[in-house]
Symmetry: C2
Subunit: 385 residues, 2 copies
């Protein structure tokens, strides 16, 4: 019941159509007390799904479940899913908002231009992990704080990566498509279905997600490799049995399966271009739940079409939402989804709690847990440098 | 190249259409030496896929890769995929075959009637695991030996089960269907997508496959339960952290996810009927790669339609191949495939080697590895009793 109230009161922000929604009559005048903040949240809209699960806090209607708490403290909380173009709902609030909460799943792109217009802006919070939709340099130059809920959905993403590895190597989707289209042809699946056991899996990046993936891969008896800027501590390395590969280009041709676990930065943007993909083993499987822009879109399409990449799966695209004509929707042997892996119900509850905790600290003038900072005092966190 | 020869020589057995295939001109007269045996193999036909992978030995065309070896020893080897009805190719060879090799993926049903007609039959070999397509009582009464390649694809099936658990709990398929139909609606996926971490997973049966599954589930930090006739040895139990549930009906309501890992026997046939399914938690996910007939087909459809079962995935059906109008093709929240999990390329190579080894022992009059026997000296193996 509590969730239903949240949902009802959140809906009033959806005025992007220009037509007042029936629930707009519920709008209360907010008498901002001194120190009261204007907080704007941009989340994906759930429509009929919003009321289907009381723990579905990550959508715009349920607004992280923090509306009652924020309003009881005298703050203003605007929530919308309308984030693009000069006439969008978000744009209207840019000039006077203090805090902007965004997510990687339905990214509100916080450009240098928007930052310039946002004269009151102090804090940019990412509900989830990955703040590359924010122009971090512009944010740092403007003296803003950018923080995310580090760790909130690392388990969610690592589990999802293992699922995608299995879907590709075991050739699940052609089998499922046979079922729904009334066919039965075991051979058409089996000729390219393999066990994961005994294969070589390499992760490009072994941060929190990469390490959780390696731990989950351990009992599958694979040959595990990882490339990162830093070697893992020996205990974790021996726990997973993964071997450090300092030279990425030396690791790539060894792998039957490559998983991307690197943040999107100036260095990783477009990193897997035609030349890099050519270094991969012919018939490689690629899983990328990191960021779509780490890949050269067309190079991936070409490699899937030629068979050099035998399967590509991930939930990240460039841009997001992926337009109807995005070529990854149409390339062969893809096992793609919309950006979902980090926004399971479990993940949502964790990042909603993390956002609430940071807002509470912000109101009190306290520091955040240090690992949450992406930009602090004009300085970028190390992985974004 | 060697594989191509196998494929060509195997094709001559495909005469079910009544029209001689162009390759039938390749047929050599086989001059059976004394002690020569007539061996018939029934496998799924691969057509254009047969030549696409040199290790694709499990199809009819490649015939386990043992044709040259068998024929060089003077044995006759007939291979077909035509297994049903009174006029099928298999039926023609029943009266004089000595050995029949079948698979669970494209089961040739060895009925009491066929056994009665097979006057020369001595040995029934299953390329794979699961010999329930054979009337085991009739085989025992007739003094036949029935054996399978125990262990040949247990890893394959366990991996596949973990994949299906993740596909269901993370709600993968609706997301993938959005991609191919040009949509983007994260909420429609997220409202019922969960992490596996923290959920309760119970396996009904903890034989070789069930144990491998539990080992692979270990790093996911689930609550693991298992029901079996016998408690695992304490070392394996503490290794997986799984808790023994002596009473199946007490375990069922505790589980968020149920995995069936029991053989099909008189006791397990139709075991998950309406009453048993009613004992499951509302919203349970069910994975069944064991045998389709363990479930009451309509009870599963009804429970998926009502939402009592929130997701059902497996590769086994009753009967197989599943007809076009099998209701599991059309029920909501299914993640089904044709029978594929045990016939990965890795699995095929293992069960082909196991069949060859048993044939070699059979020709020499030697015993098989004891764990391979399903019926020996008129006695059923313990799990089939």
């Amino acid at each position: 019941m509590a969730m239903k109230r949240v949902a009802t009161s959140a809906i009033r922000a959806f005025t992007s159509s220009g037509i007042p929604s029936p629930s707009s009559v519920l709008t209360r005048e907010l008498h901002a007390s001194p120190g009261s903040k204007k907080i704007v949240g941009v989340f994906y809209k759930a429509n009929e799904f919003a009321s289907m699960n009381p723990n579905f806090v990550g959508c715009a209607e349920n607004a992280l479940g923090i509306r009652d708490w924020l309003e009881s403290q005298g703050h203003q909380y605007i929530v919308t899913d309308d984030k693009d173009g000069p006439d969008c709902e978000l744009e209207k609030h840019i000039p006077d908002l203090h805090v902007l909460i965004t997510t990687p799943f339905h990214p509100a792109y916080v450009t240098a231009e928007r930052i310039k217009k946002a004269k009151n802006l102090q804090l940019l919070l990412t509900a989830g992990i990955g703040s590359d939709h924010v122009d971090l340099k512009a944010a740092a130059d403007a003296g803003l704080t950018v923080a995310e809920v580090t760790g909130s959905n690392v388990v969610s993403v690592a589990e999802d990566e293992l699922m995608r590895i299995l879907i590709l190597i075991r050739n699940f989707l052609p089998g499922h498509h046979q079922v729904i289209s009334g066919d039965w042809n075991v051979a058409a699946i089996a000729y390219r279905a393999y066990d994961l056991e005994g294969k070589t899996v390499g992760t490009v990046g072994a941060g929190r997600i990469g390490r959780l993936l390696l731990q989950r891969l351990k009992p599958f008896n694979c040959n595990l490799l990882y490339h990162d800027r830093i070697k893992m501590d020996p205990e974790l390395e021996s726990q997973t049995g993964a071997k450090f590969e300092e030279d990425l280009d030396a690791m790539l041709p060894k792998c039957d399966i490559i998983v991307i676990n690197a943040p999107l930065t100036e260095k990783t943007k477009g990193m897997f271009n035609k030349e890099k993909i050519a270094k991969l083993k012919k018939g490689v499987l690629v899983v990328n739940n990191a960021r779509g822009a780490i890949m050269d879109t067309q190079a991936v399409v070409d490699a899937c079409s030629s068979g050099h990449i035998a399967g590509y799966s991930g939930d990240v695209w460039n841009p997001q939402p992926a337009p109807k004509d995005h070529p990854w929707r149409y390339m062969p042997n893809q096992a793609m989804t919309p950006h979902i892996s980090g926004t399971t119900i479990d993940g949502q509850l964790r990042y909603a709690a993390g956002v609430k905790d940071m807002l509470e600290r912000y109101f009190k003038g306290e520091d955040f847990p240090p690992q949450h900072y992406i930009v602090k005092d004009g300085e970028l966190a190390s992985q974004y440098r």
